[in-house]
């Protein structure tokens, strides 16, 4: 008998493959609760509610009995990072499968105890009952059923028709605390004897500390310690106010070297294109037969650096006990952060516990991880007391990683009939991720500031198989006969970049969809019809048709108003989203209405999906109309909300979302589906309103005047 090769064995779904032990996901407490322990973290996207729904459904328990455990490296499954709109796919499928198997294990145990066949048993709110009024429960049986065993691929979750919670708009479990002002954020958490820390960071980019006088800071009431290790300097105080005052004193008495030269913010595309870079061919497709190209059209699109700009400055708490350290963080990847801390501290990972607590929305890799190392370093001087460190607004806006600037060139070869026969898409950009825990060197800010510093971690791009980075969504979904997609990743990084929602997806979709709109217009064809004619994917066609119907495409032309369409399938493998934007462009461009159709496959919590799509659409509108990280040749100058404005209540468009029901399809995340389509829909609507192609983001009065000048 031959054993089947491991590769042909059925695989466990989602994160269960890497974390197969059932008890690491699900435990029954003695008092009638179910503890569900995911490795994914709540970042305001509502994931813990969606996961609770899935668990309650498969186990047949009331959702009120489900307690969602905050992830910690001490106990939780390692689910990597909470990013890329993958949590429902990875964590949701794992929990669904694990719960289905656990339900079956308990049914078998109940059958033995009650002497009733499994098929005659029924589960209602955790009580397992059979004919003749016999019953037991998960909680009664929990003592004799061990879940310390691996999941098996055979378990069968319920068919969609038998789910009662998944697919329903259950109210989010975290919202009441937040509207009642109950402490829930890491910022509001205190530990006994907790101290406060602050870190001194230079105004000039990558400047070195030349001289520091500590005398005035030492005289500040409450001071516990001044920590200095190379260019890393911080204070620890009994009070937050004391830490702020000591920091202020230290700042006055610090002398810094001149910094590193930054690029010219008004010539970013030129700069990106001449930097040393690594070229990758992302995809190539060759047409059979002779190319029939008779002419070529080429366009360039740019996107600026964008800030995550969380409303809360990043915050962390750390406490040492001998050579072991405990960290409380709002990082998106607790195990990855632990790995980087281990590298910096030269400690075994077992001596570090990283525990998640909610922060404000992060929208990608902000300073959550950086501030965690800050807290760990400052807490070394705290004699075993916990130290809470919070960044300033200014540091959050200038020292946290940014979403990378991009230059994108697309070239289309047209045949004699004006049909697209060739397509070339080229990207110049820094890498779109420099998250911790992925490399042999740490990616944390303070690691580069120590007396014995680690080199700056140059941002990279995830492979296309994982959705790509700068190249995300650069492969067209349209049926062009040939194409060549290339990505130049910069090997220098004077402005620090890492993951921002959609990575390169927003830039690439902006470029492709703007160009498609222009080509349709040049061809004298309606943009909806043009897209449909080039798309063979039926679900792609469905979202475009739905949004066109809902927006009564194409609304009658009014002076100063315009309508535009944008479409993408996020990462080419995730949610489908089509958007019609209505803009008004008299003096400044404002977005009046966004009509959106989205297909996320199975929607675990439809209202949660709509909330994510609406939020993504409004955030994208803010990126498009307002946002651009500003800098001179030495420093980031957009260091406040005044210099980095975001969309305000009075500027927010009306947003309508139509969710296409697909209960039988694999679930896709919704958090990043709208950004690219919204961006391009707005740009195309601006053309419809004003007759100008906006190819450089953000679209402001100044950028439109520049575009008009280029045309004339």
């Amino acid at each position: 008998m031959t054993r089947p090769a491991p590769s042909s064995a059925p695989k466990l779904p989602g994160s269960l493959a890497a974390n197969p032990v059932l008890s690491s996901w699900v435990r029954f407490s003695a008092d009638g609760e179910v503890m569900i322990s995911p490795g994914k973290v709540e970042i305001g996207q509502g994931i813990v509610t969606a996961l609770a729904q899935i668990a309650a459904d498969e186990l047949d328990v009331d959702i009120g009995r489900v307690q969602m455990v905050r992830p910690s490296t001490a106990a939780s499954p390692n689910e990597g990072v909470t990013s890329g709109s993958l949590s429902v796919q990875q964590s949701g499928r794992a929990i669904r499968h694990a719960c289905a198997e656990i339900r079956q294990i308990f049914l078998d145990a109940a059958s033995n105890r009650l002497g009733v066949g499994v098929d005659a048993l029924d589960v209602k709110d955790g009580t397992i009952s059979g004919p003749g009024n016999v019953s037991t429960s998960y909680w009664e049986l929990a003592g004799e059923v061990s879940l310390d065993r691996d999941a098996t691929p055979g378990a069968k979750p319920k068919p969609p028709t038998q789910r009662t919670l998944a697919g329903g708009s259950i109210r989010r479990v975290d919202i009441p605390d937040k509207v009642f002002g109950h402490p829930r954020f890491i910022h509001d958490f205190t530990l006994p004897a907790m101290l406060h820390g602050r870190v001194l960071r230079p105004e000039l980019s990558a400047a070195k500390l030349v001289d520091l006088s500590e005398d005035r800071a030492r005289a500040v009431a409450g001071l516990v310690a001044i920590v200095r290790d190379g260019n890393f300097v911080g204070v620890v105080s009994e009070t937050e106010d004391g830490a702020e005052n000591a920091l202020r004193a230290l700042r006055k008495d610090a002398a810094w070297s001149s910094g590193e030269t930054l690029p010219d913010e008004d010539r970013l595309a030129e700069w990106l294109k001449v930097q040393p870079s690594e070229l990758m061919v992302i995809d190539a497709k060759t047409a059979s037969g002779k190319p029939a190209k008779v002419r070529t059209i080429q366009r360039q699109y740019t996107r600026p650096y964008l800030a995550h700009a969380s409303i809360a400055p990043s915050c962390a708490i750390a406490q040492w006990a001998g050579q072991r350290v405990h960290v409380w963080t709002h990082s998106q990847g607790i195990y990855f952060l632990r790995a980087d801390l281990a590298l910096v501290l030269t400690l075994p990972v077992e001596d570090i516990i990283v525990e998640h607590m909610e922060g404000a929305g992060c929208y990608g890799h902000n300073a959550a991880d950086d501030v965690s190392l800050d807290a760990v370093l400052l807490a070394k001087a705290a004699g075993g007391r916990p130290v809470r460190v919070q960044w300033s607004r200014q540091d959050e806006m200038t020292h946290a990683p940014f979403g990378a600037a991009m230059a994108i060139e697309i070239e289309a070869g047209l045949d004699a009939q004006g049909e697209i026969v060739e397509w070339r898409h080229r990207i110049w950009s820094n890498g779109h991720t420099a998250r911790p825990g992925r490399a042999a060197q740490p990616a944390l800010l303070a690691a580069t500031e120590l007396a014995n510093p680690f080199p700056r971690y140059i941002a990279t791009n995830p492979p296309q198989a994982n959705g790509g980075g700068a190249d995300r969504n650069s492969i067209p979904l349209y049926d062009f006969p040939s194409w060549q997609i290339e990505c130049h990743r910069l090997l220098t990084m004077p402005i620090r970049t890492s993951a921002l929602r959609t990575l390169g997806g927003q830039g690439n979709v902006f470029a492709i969809e703007s160009f498609i709109d222009e080509l349709a217009s040049t061809h004298g064809e309606d943009p909806v019809a043009f897209r449909l004619r080039h798309l063979s994917d039926a679900r792609a066609q469905d979202v475009i048709r739905s949004v066109a119907r809902r927006a009564s495409w194409k609304p009658e032309k009014q002076t100063g108003r315009g309508h535009g369409l944008g479409f993408a399938r996020y990462k080419n493998t995730g949610a489908y989203c089509a958007v019609v934007a209505e803009v008004e462009g008299v003096e400044d461009v404002s977005v009046k209405r966004l009509t959106i159709a989205v297909d996320v496959g199975e929607a675990i919590n439809p209202d949660g999906v709509i909330n994510q799509i609406e939020g993504g659409a409004i955030q994208a509108t803010s990126w498009v109309l307002k946002e651009r990280v500003r800098f001179d040749r030495q420093r980031i100058t957009s260091n406040s909300w005044a210099s980095y404005p975001i969309l305000r209540f009075s500027e927010v468009p009306e947003v309508q979302v139509e969710l296409i029901p697909r209960p039988d399809s694999e679930p896709f995340g919704a958090g990043e589906a709208a950004h690219g389509p919204v961006t391009s829909a707005i740009a195309n609507a601006v053309f419809d309103a004003l007759g100008v192609r906006a190819r450089d983001l953000p679209i402001t009065r100044e950028s439109l005047i520049a575009a008009m000048e280029r045309v004339s």
Binding site: R184, H187, E240, L647, F649
Partner: protein
């Protein structure tokens, strides 16, 4: 230090601290009132808004001396029974929720002054509150829903 006296969420409160310190610092530090959130420290985001009299103000930019004898309400002072809180839950009007305590204060102050606001009134009243998740429209709907409920009472 001179003493500063004010009413905080209905309770007489006396603080012995430097009168130039910010109200936010005193609330979150000495008093352990963590509902008002620190966002910027420069009155640009609204996350720390509290109600003084019948106006929402940024506690980060309010010196302690200026609140002598004033009535101060924080989100904690709404208890769990304010129609705005019910409406925010009903409309699922937030994502991360860090800005919500400040938004609630701006909205509650608006409803004290204007029980029958239009959508535009609400947007104007919340215009100094920043929300990064894009929950604006849901929040506006929640405020209008709460206003309607309060008028019906």
């Amino acid at each position: 230090m001179p003493l500063t006296r004010f009413r905080l969420n209905g309770a007489e409160t006396t603080i012995d601290a430097d009168p130039d310190r910010s109200l936010l610092d005193i609330l979150r530090g000495q008093l352990g009132i963590t509902g008002p959130h620190f966002g910027c420290g420069t009155n640009e985001c609204g996350a720390c808004n509290v109600i003084i009299g019948d106006h929402a103000v940024a506690a980060c930019d309010t010196p302690l001396w200026s609140v002598q004898d004033k009535n101060i309400t924080t989100i904690e002072g709404l208890g769990g029974t304010h129609p705005l809180q019910r409406a925010l839950i009903a409309e699922q009007a937030l994502q991360c929720g860090y800005c919500v305590s400040g938004v609630l204060m701006s909205a509650a102050a608006l409803l004290m002054r204007n029980p029958n606001p239009t959508g535009e009134d609400v947007r104007a009243a919340l215009d100094r509150n920043l929300c990064r998740c894009g929950s604006h429209n849901r929040m506006v709907r929640a405020v209008l829903r709460a206003a309607a409920e309060m008028r019906a009472q």
